[in-house]
Symmetry: C2
Subunit: 401 residues, 2 copies
């Protein structure tokens, strides 16, 4: 399906779930309702490392907010101080007691002036320091502290490095988390946010044309200019990911340019990860929920679930096309989902309601982000349990010797 | 969809689920596993009357066998003796301790010679004695014995009438059970077997061309000759029915002329009847079962469920397209069905297995016939319970007075 750019395409409200939001990383209390995990890195446990790949302007910040909401932890905010601190830019790193979110832009090899000399874009791997990235991911995974550079997005310079202490969950998000084999092998779980070109254009129009006054021509030219490097270096990572969240235009109405169809593609055979599905494992199901139990604005709502092949890999896909009218009713969808990795029935709905004002909370982007967050929490807890068990066994063996 | 008549259309094996089978109404014991209902007409209970409309050669006999199998009863066979009795034809009426199945052909006004004089077909209401039909349905419903004519299909004459005693469940099956308003108003539940023209042609080819050596031209001429009266007098009854079982060519492969798609259309708002559905009430669901849990020959198997409009009436539809490889695995489908009116999980599968050799047991015709049979049993039991309650209340009131 191809979206035709038209006047209709220029008006869309709260669709930009992954698009930059007004939310900034100021100190945020995790809601009391979310189940709080152990705060410190438990003895014998090394961090779990998650890679999240996505283009800039795809709403990683909203996704990170959903992740930290579910992981819990008392203090969530930027490392050091905050964007609002005097002097402007400080850090790209978001921390809570439990999680650290590192932006891979910090591994840019050259500053903006340096790239003018090389003539390469930041999308090009040659402009990124994968040797340092590998060393630091490896050190953090071993529980060691690192001194990480900071790329200043405001003025395009490389600032004084900052100290990163390992936390139980470390998320590496940016353009190339799965590009380098050495880095990729260290990641415990990988996620790719795949925004279709039509949706990405709509989001950029919303941000750059409507909010910043850029012309449509300049927006399209900028997308075209990025496209070769994006296709060559970013896009190929999706084949390598454990989970891919695809954001596409709706299939419910060809004329509708606002509503999103979101697919959560989950690889089979990933250690400690059982894919989520609707109603029945292994079945292919298309589901139009009862309008009496779930109200939705035009063009309606439709879910799908079933096994698929994705670049030769066996996957389980859950899809949602359309918007919720009333987020409370998500509990009805939750009742049809299995392997959500929630701890009680209703926790998925509760997590979505806790961030009801975040972009995408009324559609599949919020739902799939939240499912991904529960999957990552579950992976962490399994890994912690395994480490605790191994420690207990070695203690018992030592005592017996 | 239109079937093209081709050589492929001439070869099909066990598809004729409603088509005449080798089964004859000889004495048959209901299987021990089926839950046997009360044998005699309980005090205060009047018979429940079911109308089943279908064209000739649409396998009503198989359906009746499924019904009597589920209703139970010690003796199942033709009233009087059996088709195999010396002298040939005896009766069209099938009885068990619990059920009586009356063929409406017995209400033909004229014998075959008489119709030669009038020039009308047996499909024409003018050739059927609705006054007598109404009187006898009414009498039986009141618990009275009637003396019913017998139409002899072998020689086309009207034989000496037979005595029909009321049993708890009486089924009127034939061409016109819902044609006459007075008769229709007496029916507690109505069912229409709607075989699509393409499937009907295939079945007639199988029976009349392959088994009886008729020419294709004569078969098609005979269908064409019946069509105007069928469309005028039989087909309109489907709008008036509580349940319609539609038998259509498969949608899974346009080239496949054998596999059937069967839809059970269940009206909403019928007293004491809650429609069956897959997975979730009120939702529209398309389901391709997991091939690891349910094996099926090409072109596979697909089920659907959801609300629909049928000639302006609100309905709930359950559909199955394709065949089972292994009937034992039907229990997996059963687990996804609600409102089957079974008394325990597995009873639907058990009922299908008990008649595994009957035509249509490997496809949706057998499944939907069996669902209809459970619905009718449930209606009967509700009616009996209501009668028993009413009797108890009147006894209590009389004692108090």
């Amino acid at each position: 399906m191809k979206f035709c750019l038209s006047v209709a395409a220029l008006s869309f409200g709260s669709v930009a779930a992954f698009a930059p939001s007004a939310f900034t990383y100021n100190t945020m209390k995790a809601p009391a309702s979310s189940s709080s995990l152990n705060m410190a890195l438990p003895e014998g446990v090394t961090p779990i490392i998650i890679g999240v790949a996505a283009d800039s302007g795809c709403g990683k910040s909203t996704f990170m907010r959903r992740l930290t909401n579910i992981f819990g932890g008392d203090v969530v905010g930027p490392l050091g101080g905050g964007f609002g601190a005097p002097g402007g830019w400080e850090t790209n790193t978001l921390v809570s007691d439990l999680t650290t979110v590192i932006c891979l832009d910090d591994y840019h090899l050259n500053d903006r002036n340096g790239r003018k000399v090389t003539g390469l874009t930041a999308l090009n791997p040659l402009e990124n320091n994968f040797d340092l990235m590998y060393e630091q991911v490896k050190a953090l995974k071993e529980g060691k502290t690192v001194s990480k550079p900071i790329y200043n997005h405001v003025n395009g310079t490389l600032d004084t490095p900052e100290t990163i202490e390992p936390t139980p969950i470390i998320i590496f998000e940016g353009l190339h988390p799965m590009h380098d084999d050495r880095v990729r092998d260290l990641l415990d779980f990988t996620l790719y946010l795949d925004i279709s070109p039509d949706v990405k254009l709509n989001w950029k129009i919303q941000r750059d044309m409507e909010e910043r006054g850029h012309s449509l021509e300049s927006i399209m030219a900028s997308i075209e200019a990025r496209k070769p490097d994006f296709d060559a270096y970013i896009d190929p990572q999706k084949k390598l990911s454990d989970m891919i969240i695809e954001v596409l235009p709706t299939n419910l109405d060809k004329e509708d340019k606002k509503t999103l169809r979101v697919r959560c593609i989950q690889k089979e055979g990933v250690p400690d990860f059982a894919p989520c599905y609707l109603f029945d494992s292994g079945s292919t199901i298309e589901w139009t929920p009862s309008p009496e139990k779930l109200s939705s604005p035009a063009p309606g709502i439709k879910l799908k679930s079933g096994p698929e092949e994705y670049f030769g890999s066996k996957c389980q896909v859950v899809e949602m096309d359309g918007n919720f009218d009333n987020l409370q009713e998500l509990v009805y969808i939750e009742s049809a989902l299995s392997n959500t990795k929630t701890k009680f029935y209703g926790e998925l709905t509760q997590a979505m309601l806790a961030l009801a004002d975040a972009p995408g909370s009324n559609n599949g982007t919020g739902l799939m982000q939240t499912l991904a967050a529960f999957a990552i929490r579950d992976l962490y807890e399994k890994k912690s349990a395994q480490a605790a068990k191994a420690k207990k066994e070695s203690t018992t063996a030592a005592a017996a010797a």
